[in-house]
Amino acid sequence: MAKITLDNLAHSYLPNPASEEDYALKELNHDWQDGAAYALLGASGCGKSTLLNIISGLLQPSQGRILFDGHDVTHAPTTERNIAQVFQFPVVYDTMTVRDNLAFPLRNRGRDEAYVAERVQEIARMIGMEDMLRRKARGLTADAKQKISLGRGMVRQDVNALLFDEPLTVIDPHMKWELRTQLKSLHRDFGHTMIYVTHDQTEALTFADKVVVMHDGRVVQIGTPEELFEQPEHTFVGYFIGSPGMNVIPARIEGDKAIVNGTEIELGHAYRPQEGKLEIGVRPEYARLSQAEGLPVKVRRVEDVGRHKVVRADFFGHDINIIAGEDDHVGADMNRVTFDADHVNVYADDWRVAPSERTTPAGEAA
């Protein structure tokens, strides 16, 4: 178990990267705290797997260093880093039995057979494959194979970190839930540092203490699920997390007012004058449809998704979403919207701008 430090880390798959565009992973400084469970969330192709492979040593970064508890392991091979990693698609050794598959990482490290047998039994119980131990791995379902892959990842107790690269993609939904619960309890019991790559926000938010959101080769925000929801640091986080995502509307900012098409919207805080592309972001949960107050909208469609209703509307030519409660009445005469001023965020060039009365300087995140 170790604290993993990324120091000025960046990676490009090209031999001579010229511009920032060439980097699959843009410069990054971050500490992965020992024993925490992280989720690495982002759309496909945003650099998540690249980052994971750099940590496990399958890939050498183009620049920067990786430290395990202060030791530089940037050029150390995978075996020296003592890391377990589970991949998106199942990897099993076809000609071995399930038992030998699970025992493989331990035997390769020369552990004695009594210990191996005990660990294998324990892991088999966890993944629910005790009665299949004698079977050959060939011909098992993708589900079962992935469970074996997960088991091989978990069988070593002394690993520095456990990395999961979208491990539950091929697992069916019911089993997904169960396995995720198992992973969480494993984390609780042994306190391994875990990094879990996914593009599924539910998976990320339920699994992790801290969620790292990546976009276009860059880490855009690291925070608790609540922080990601309340204060997305980047419009991408706003879109990507939440269902539906945050409404982003182009606006002008004047002090504690935002102006959209000549109409003023109250902001909870005052802001310094900003440069660049300015937008305000409001989560659908903080918008409310009403009859009398607020700004004019044209309701297009109401979707009842069960616990609440999603109102799709047109707001000065921009699509916005508003969430109404399950029992709220959405009438034909309701054509105005109000925003909860405290939950309206301001974005300059996609990055969140901190209000000026706070001590942090504006534009810090950029």
């Binding site: 890391i83 991949f87 998106q88 990897v91």
Partner: protein, 289 residues
């Protein structure tokens, strides 16, 4: 589900039936025809029953040729399969060098059999051949026309040169189809190079290797042109493989009956061995599954 019965559909099978009849069934039947009859010329044939088959089964000449043939196929398989795998493992996996390797390796496969034979026939000659002359100059007494061992070594080296590429190319295709994740997982699991080969590469190649072994067995068992050009079956009968002996018997001695019986047994041996090998390999797969 109700199936429509339409007897006219048989006409659709007709072209294939005709093609197979002319390309395989009818020629084979003429051989069967010869194998059960005897002739004294003038196109007069007499029923001989299984006499030719009995004669051939009792013939030491045929058993010797069969024994030499099995030796030959066995030796070249034992060399070509591991060598092909070894070459495939060491080929660059991608990039320009990979293409260069593939092209270079395919070259021997493109050369016609009798040309390969001629190349080696000249290459091995002691008076003007590069190989023969060099070996002789080095003080090794090499002469494939007079020494049994030298003749065998020449034939085997020639076949290895000609056909190892096929095994290598098939093995390479098998290796290329292994996803990167397997190698990455093996690194994470701290598997040694040998274990990566034993538990990842070999199992993933087993399908193409089965094909490679089958192809190489069938082809080498039928080999005729190259040894005919190089040694002509000699010295003595030392390299008279089945095909060479068969041609001697059929066209040299014009013993059509025994030769036909011989051909049919030859064909059945190839069929039998291939079938047994294939069945065993696929059953192994099933048992493991």
């Amino acid at each position: 589900m109700n199936k429509t019965v339409n007897q006219k559909a048989w006409f659709l099978v007709l072209p294939v039936l005709l093609l197979v009849a002319f390309s395989a069934v009818i020629p084979l039947m003429t051989v069967v025809n010869y194998s059960v009859q005897d002739t004294f010329g003038q196109n007069q044939f007499f029923w001989a029953g299984l006499a030719w088959f009995e004669e051939m089964l009792a013939s030491e000449r045929m058993w010797n040729a069969l024994w030499r043939q099995m030796m030959f196929s066995g030796i070249i398989l034992v060399i070509q399969v591991p060598l092909g795998i070894f070459v495939a493992l060491n080929m660059p996996k991608s990039g320009a060098w990979s293409t260069v390797c593939l092209v270079l390796m395919s070259l021997p496969l493109l050369i016609p059999w009798n040309v390969v034979g001629t190349i080696w026939q000249i290459f091995g000659r002691v008076d003007i051949g590069l190989l023969g002359y060099t070996l002789d100059a080095l003080g090794l007494e090499y002469n494939y026309t007079q020494d049994t061992l030298d003749a065998w070594v020449t034939l085997i080296v020639m076949d290895v040169w000609h056909w190892t590429s096929l095994v290598a190319l098939l093995a390479f295709a098998g290796l290329k189809s292994i996803p990167d994740a397997y190698y990455q997982a093996a690194k994470i699991d701290q598997a040694s190079r040998w274990k990566v080969f034993r538990y990842i590469e070999l199992p993933k190649m087993s399908g193409v290797l089965t094909i490679a072994i089958l192809l190489r067995f069938m082809d080498s068992f039928k080999i005729y042109t190259e040894p005919f050009v190089v040694t002509g079956g000699g010295p003595g009968n030392a390299t008279t493989l089945l095909s060479i002996d068969l041609v001697k018997m059929a066209l040299g001695q014009f013993d059509l009956g025994p030769a036909a019986a011989f051909s049919i047994m030859y064909f059945l041996v190839i069929l039998l061995v291939s079938w047994v090998f294939y069945t065993v390999m696929t059953n192994l797969d099933k048992q493991e599954g």
